[in-house]
């Protein structure tokens, strides 16, 4: 079933929002006003959006240290996120979590996570919950190519198969874990074949092509929502910035980043496909661009102006009851 115009607009807007959120953060971080470690999602937008556009509010996702894109795609408030990253008191997590710990269970976003590989078991649990709730709910574990070598990720794959849970392991292969190449750290050099070895449906697609991701997910979600058990999806994607802000990126080849920006940009690709297949008028996309720029500008302005936390806040929110 082809996407409606509304769906196309929405998907594009989501990708563009992630893109500009991150491009702007890159600049904001350079000013020194944002504390801590930040990992930008820029370049991988088609993955988060191509997956999450299929999801209902009460489907679950579990994210990673590179979580902004997943948060936005699943419906977290962009202004609240910006405030959180700025460490503000009315940020999405009251300034307690920061970039690596954004969550909003009300939209089914169960948390970014600073521990590589910790998400997959959590997603298995959300899959247990999804099955208890019935109605074809699913749980998605986003993981990197590096995370997929962590024992917890393997355990989670096996357990999801054993319990036949509605869990999809989405592997974003951006070819690097920090400064290390995926072909080095993934011994088999093929994480999809490895996932298939666990006994589940395992597929891959071009993660820089929104339509490829979206179409593959249609199929895979059907499988999972119908109760046929878990699946693994590997998406070939690219990160346009360093591992974290401040990374000198000496592991890149000459001209690599320019080439990626040129040939592997999911937003450019979206526009090219939209044009070629006459899916939507490009002027409409331009209008969305303008709206998004405004949203991000406003988010930054609000975040900068927002009040900082107070020392006494440190002691709150450890337990529900003492």
């Amino acid at each position: 079933m082809p996407l409606s115009k509304d769906q196309l607009r929405r998907a594009y807007r989501q990708m563009k929002t992630i893109r500009e959120f991150e491009e702007r953060l890159h600049l904001e971080i350079a000013t020194g006003d944002i504390a801590g470690f930040t990992h930008l999602y820029c370049g991988q937008e088609a993955v988060a959006v191509g997956v999450c556009e299929h999801l209902a509010n009460d489907d679950f996702i579990v994210s990673t240290h590179r979580g902004h894109g997943h948060c936005i795609a699943k419906g977290c408030d962009v202004v609240g996120m910006m405030k959180e990253i700025y460490g503000r008191r009315d940020g999405l997590c009251k300034g307690k979590g920061g970039s690596m710990h954004i969550a909003d269970v009300n939209v089914g976003m169960l948390g970014a996570n600073g521990i590589v590989g910790a998400g997959a078991p959590l997603a298995v649990g959300a899959g247990v919950a999804a099955r208890m709730d019935g109605a074809g709910k699913v749980s998605i574990a986003f993981s990197g190519d590096g995370a997929c070598n962590q024992g917890t990720t393997f355990e989670a794959m096996n357990m999801a198969v054993v319990l036949k849970l509605p869990v999809i392991f989405v592997y974003e292969n951006n070819h690097y874990s920090e400064h290390t190449g995926a072909d080095y750290a993934v011994g088999s050099k093929d994480m999809t074949k490895r996932a298939a070895g666990f006994g589940m449906l395992a597929r891959k697609a071009d993660g820089c092509d929104f339509f490829a991701v979206y179409d593959l997910m249609t199929e895979v979600l059907q499988h999972c929502r119908s109760g046929a058990g878990p699946a693994s999806v590997e998406l070939d994607t690219e990160r346009f910035f360093g591992h974290f802000e401040g990374d000198p990126q000496r592991y890149r080849g000459p001209g690599e980043l320019e080439r990626l920006r040129e040939t592997r940009d999911c937003l450019k690709n979206f526009r090219a496909t939209a044009k070629a297949r006459k899916l939507i008028d490009l002027a409409e996309l331009d209008a969305i661009d303008a709206q998004v720029m405004q949203l991000i500008e406003s988010a930054v302005t609000q975040a900068r102006a927002a009040p900082v936390p107070q020392a006494a806040d440190v002691f709150e929110d450890v337990y529900v009851t003492y």
Partner: protein
């Protein structure tokens, strides 16, 4: 009231709570037993016999037998809780926290805080712990001190069947992650258990003996040793408070401090090795908050700074016991500045 073993009290409480709340899910290794075998499900019901009958009653969606994957068991419990359920996870031996600490310590313990107080994570992790069965270094550890040190986790240690019911019910119905420590040598002890609803609040210690000469603060299997020591001392006219902490986090500071204010002598008995232990934790509390009342050096009766040895004679020498507690009380009372 009905007389039952601690093991039975736990099994029954889980049954009652799962009956009451359809949102509860339980998971662990061999908690059903017999999955994928000729004997079929329920061939065992938990190697400690605590989960029998659950699968038959509540089915495979809510009673989940897992592969040997503790990180994923604990993580799945936490994930289910984030996703709106109440989860009970079982670790067959407390020593296995080593295999899944991240999910306990960086995940479930921290979610609420990291996420700005907007999530809860109602998970009860049931853990069989402690020495006394010659199970050697990797199956006998106390572990609770380590877990007590982690902000965001509550730590509970029932010592009677009634307390097991009351504390487990509170754990399951609460909205925070709870480490529920069950001493392997206490499963078989019997006692009266209240019928119907029975919840015990956390942070309320139980005074099992009252006295005026010394305060013995302890928990878990050592409560009985402390009582034995107190009873022996009573024959010499020495009367002791024996405080069963019940929960080490939250800690009933008031009960401890009041007792020491009255007696001036503190003896802490703890099955952990000494360093950064619960014994030192309580010693530090009293030395900072009831200093003026103290009449003698604080006595800490702990396991030695060694792993748990295997042989009967060695494990016996390793474990703190009634004689050691009694001697510590006498040392404290004999102290002259």
């Amino acid at each position: 009231m009905a007389k039952m073993m601690l093991r039975e009290a736990i099994n029954k409480t889980i049954h009652d709570e799962m009956e009451r709340d359809k949102n509860i899910v339980i998971m662990g290794e061999d908690i059903v037993g017999g999955m994928g075998t000729a004997g079929g499900p329920e061939a065992i019901g938990g190697i400690w016999g605590l989960t029998g009958g659950l699968y038959a009653k509540f089915g495979a969606n809510r009673v989940i037998d897992t592969p040997i994957s503790e990180s994923c068991i604990v993580g799945a419990a936490a994930g289910a809780a984030l996703a709106g359920k109440r989860a009970i996870a079982e670790l067959m031996f407390a020593d296995f926290v080593g295999v899944c600490l991240d999910q306990l310590y960086n995940q479930m313990a921290k979610f609420r805080y990291m996420f700005g107080g907007k999530t809860k994570c109602p998970v009860t992790v049931r853990i069989t712990y402690g020495a006394g069965m010659n199970a050697a270094a990797q199956h006998s550890q106390a572990v609770y001190s380590m877990l007590t040190s982690i902000p965001g986790l509550k730590v509970v240690m029932p010592t009677t069947p009634a307390d097991a019911k009351g504390l487990l019910t509170t754990a399951i119905r609460g909205d925070d992650p709870v480490m529920f420590f069950e001493h392997k040598t206490l499963y078989g002890i019997s006692g009266e258990v209240p019928d119907g609803e029975y919840l015990l609040p956390f942070g309320n210690a139980r005074m099992t003996r009252e006295g005026n000469h010394a305060s013995i603060v302890t928990c878990g299997q050592l409560v009985r040793a402390a009582e034995k020591a107190a009873d022996a001392l009573a024959k010499d006219g020495i009367s002791c408070d024996v405080i069963d902490l019940r929960t080490t986090s939250p800690l009933d500071e008031e009960c401890i401090l009041d007792s020491v204010e009255n007696t001036g002598h503190l003896i802490v008995a703890d099955e952990s090795p000494p360093r950064c232990s619960l014994a030192s934790d309580i010693a530090g509390l009293v030395a900072s908050k009831a200093f003026a009342a103290l009449k003698a050096p604080i006595e800490m009766v702990t396991a030695p700074h060694t792993p748990v040895p295997f042989a009967r004679e060695l494990e016996k020498a390793y474990l703190p016991n009634a004689a050691g507690i009694e001697a510590a009380v006498r040392r404290s009372l004999a102290y002259r500045h």
